[in-house]
């Protein structure tokens, strides 16, 4: 396209990928007075960060991430304070229900572990759970209840970050595909379909596409991705009051502020890195809805208005990568966090602190660590291979 590549500028820090991770890292860096460029192939927040379910749920995060999740929850609940614009967030209690002894035992273990890591969760009886969530089907034996939960309108991620990044003076290059990056001894050449930019430091925040990005720098982060599917129903008067889940992880359900019911649970559709998430698996929609009806019987009366999907990046150990690219100066990675939309603002601000050499209030997650597959794959993966 360009005979002679256009020069897009010289920057202090370049961030590649405009999801919640890239945007949350770029924002504090720009505010600290650095010349920041953010490159996004499509528009800000159009991939996982704009397609997720917007659940904040610190109680279902891995124990290593409970503190980060609580901070992320607080940040989304007060988004106006740090973004300058309110994304639309709603506090509601979180409830995870168990229907048999095995699930109850697992829930008991989860609550004990998460509470030891700072979560505020209570185990309650099935009867108590029905008082909190009156439409719940009978048969709940045990439930975990937390007041630290809620949901936010994650489809507005791009919009709110666009506003905040512009206010902070960051240079946002939308519809700008980074093809590769060359490390020229401390000055990175960023080759895009719109020209070349130069930067002293680089942050890779490519979500599901992160492995390819790290390979530009001779590193290979073993990124896996899931093709998560979501369902939304028509509007209905108040039916569900909590951010509701079942212990086996195959159902998450909540009612949005506009009255629609958003249903998910890690059910898998079809997609790949080349084409993105592109095909809903009808069988998985049906099974997800059957489970939703089992838990909240009145859902049978609602029509589905839309289904959609997105790529969620994970690492085999289900912990994120936030930190320096091993053995490469001035290069950083952020991503692969389960429940990463909720935790993203916290991780981004931690990585910004790390890049700026500030003290870290919470641990980050070395991308160069030895990443072993987790022996007990997370519950959602039971639905994999649908």
């Amino acid at each position: 396209m360009h005979d002679e590549a256009e020069i897009l500028g010289q920057f202090d820090i370049a961030v590649v990928g405009g999801g919640v991770m890239g945007c949350s890292t770029a924002l504090p860096l720009a505010r600290a007075g650095h010349k920041v460029a953010l490159f996004e192939r499509r528009g800000l927040g159009l991939e996982a960060s704009g397609r997720n379910a917007g659940s904040l749920s610190p109680m279902i995060k891995k124990s290593e991430l409970v503190a980060h999740a609580i901070e992320g929850y607080r940040m989304w609940m007060s988004s106006k304070d740090w973004l300058g614009v309110d994304i639309g967030s709603h506090t509601k209690p979180g409830l995870i229900v168990a229907y048999n002894q095995m699930e109850a035992d697992a829930l008991d273990r989860l609550v004990t572990d998460r509470c030891a890591n700072g979560a505020q969760i209570e185990l309650i009886s099935g009867k108590k759970a029905t008082e909190i969530e009156p439409q719940l089907s009978s048969g709940v034996t045990l439930a975990a209840y937390s007041e630290v939960d809620g949901q936010a309108e994650s489809n507005r991620t791009g919009q709110v970050f666009n506003f905040a990044l512009n206010q902070a003076g960051a240079n946002v290059f939308g519809h700008c595909d980074v093809k590769h990056v060359v490390n020229n001894n401390g000055n990175y050449e960023i080759h895009t379909d719109r020209g070349i930019a130069y930067s002293n430091k680089i942050v890779l925040a490519g979500g599901a596409w992160l492995e390819g990005m790290t390979s530009w720098l001779g590193f290979s982060l073993p990124v896996q991705y899931k093709v998560n599917q979501m369902i939304v129903t028509e509007r209905t008067p108040e039916l569900v009051r909590t951010v509701l889940g079942v212990q086996n992880g195959l159902l998450t359900l909540k009612q949005a502020a506009n009255g629609t019911i958003v249903i998910g649970g890690g059910w898998q559709g079809h997609g790949d890195l080349e084409n993105g998430a592109w095909h809903v698996e009808p069988e998985a929609v049906v099974r997800n809805l059957q489970l939703a009806r089992f838990v909240i019987p009145q859902i049978k009366d609602l029509r589905v208005v839309r289904t959609w999907l997105g790529l969620e990046a994970v690492l085999p150990d289900y912990l994120p990568a936030v930190g320096a690219v091993p053995d490469v100066d001035g290069a950083y990675v952020i991503g692969c966090c389960r429940g990463g939309w909720a935790i993203g603002p916290c991780l981004g601000s931690l990585l910004a602190d790390f890049i700026l050499g500030r003290n870290l209030r919470l641990p980050i997650f070395d991308p160069g660590r030895k990443i072993n597959a987790e022996p007990f794959a997370a519950a959602g993966s039971a639905s994999k291979g649908m």
């Binding site: 028509e234 509007r235 209905t236 008067p237 009255g259 009366d301 029509r303 208005v305």
Partner: protein, 99 residues
């Protein structure tokens, strides 16, 4: 009872199907075979066919299956009034929160 002759239908240049009667919320409505429920209701001056989640009256807007504002209940199922044909003896109820 609504008389289709006193309604919004255009004159007699048009070849209509047989006259039928159906019931909407206890009101008997006259219509012609081949018409959609939404059209027949409009011709009978019934413009509000449901209540929104917020409790406001709603009714058919697009008449082509897109806006979803014409949802009614037929045999307890939610159906689009604009995409469902009238039939003699059909019982149609409005949808939405009871207010």
């Amino acid at each position: 009872m609504f008389n289709p002759k006193d309604t919004l239908r255009i004159g007699d240049k048009f070849q209509r199907g047989n006259a039928v009667e159906f019931v909407f919320n206890g009101i008997t409505v006259e219509a012609y075979e081949g018409e959609s429920i939404a059209t027949a209701l409009l011709a009978a001056n019934i413009v509000s066919t449901k209540f929104s989640v917020g409790g406001y009256p709603r009714g058919p807007v697009c008449f082509m299956g897109s806006c979803q504002e014409c949802v009614v209940r037929i045999n307890a199922r939610k159906m689009l009034a604009c995409q469902t044909k009238v039939a003699h003896g059909l019982v149609v109820e409005f949808d939405g929160p009871k207010i």
